[in-house]
Amino acid sequence: MESLAKLGIDLWGLVIYIINFGILWAVLAYFVFPKLIKAIDERRSQIENNLQTAEKLQSELEGVLTRSQQEKVELEAKLDSDRELLEADMAKAKAELLQEAELRKDALIQEARKLIREEKNRLIADTEGEMIAMMQRVLVKILSDKVDPADVKASVEQAWSEAREEVAS
């Protein structure tokens, strides 16, 4: 006891402190600790629930991501297929257009050739007509101006001898 006193420790004071601490502990253990423990348990439980929910959501998200990836792959495959079909259609349409254009070109060339031929024939016919008309005028001019009247009279007699055989009396 004395040694404790030499050290400056009051044994009775220590006992009182211990009793006070015990009383405080008992009050806390009775009134505070259960509520605190309960709150901690509730918090733990909530955190666990949240973790489960998060795991579930993660799992769902992974499923969605997987499905989305799969759909993306399918869609890309479909797009590729559609593109190929479209390209094939375009190639076919292009070939048809080219063929049609070729046919139209041939038809236009034929038409142009026909028009040129007709125009050429018309020009030739016109020229021939003009030449014939000119020759006719020249002949008429020569025959009306340059022929001896005696020859004209002779031609009348000659023509009559021919005509009388054709005309019944």
């Binding site: 014939i132 025959l143 009348v156 023509a159 009559w160 021919e162």
Partner: protein
């Protein structure tokens, strides 16, 4: 006026006045199908007279009669006047009309008097000689021939006979050659 020729012929031949009046009436109205027998006989004889006497006299006229001076023309027509009363009347017609007009009038008269006669038009570039005219009339003795001068024919002859065309003219030959090349 051309009917005066018929009256002159009737007077010359002593035809009945009634037949002459009937014939002139028929000619004027354009219907000579229902004439009496004397009138028909007169018409027939008159057409024969035209063909045998008047037309040869007409054909013998100079081609340039219309271009002659009055004095020269009178000399020619005097010859015509002395032949018969009918040719005298013809001379009178030629005094006031051209040969072409008289020829056309004669042709119209003959068509009325003798519709059964055919019609012949002979076109030549120059006037036919009287001899050739005689030949042509002889050839077409069943028809009434009219001669027309058309210088555009250039040469040869062109004959219309009752719608039939015989073209022996130079112009016709030129046109035929031109049409062959078309």
């Amino acid at each position: 006026m051309i009917a005066g020729l018929l009256v002159a012929y009737a007077a010359d031949t002593g035809a009945s006045t009634q037949a002459v009046a009937e014939l002139i009436g028929g000619v004027t109205s354009g219907s000579t199908y229902h004439l009496s027998t004397p009138a028909k006989s007169l018409a027939k004889n008159f057409v024969t007279f035209l063909n045998t006497e008047v037309l040869p006299a007409f054909d013998n006229l100079p081609a340039e009669l219309n271009l002659m001076s009055t004095k020269d023309k009178d000399q020619v027509l005097d010859v015509l006047r002395k032949q018969s009363p009918a040719t005298k009347w013809l001379a009178h017609l030629l005094e006031t009309s051209t040969t072409h007009q008289v020829q056309s009038a004669l042709s119209a008269l003959v068509k009325k008097l003798a519709p059964q006669l055919g019609s012949v038009v002979v076109k030549t570039p120059t006037d036919l000689t009287p001899e050739l005219k005689v030949q042509v009339r002889k050839h077409f003795k069943q028809d009434f021939a009219v001669f027309i001068t058309d210088t555009s024919l250039l040469g040869g002859i062109l004959v219309y006979k009752n719608g039939q065309l015989i073209d022996k003219s130079w112009l016709g030959k030129i046109k035929a050659i031109a049409s062959l090349t078309k």
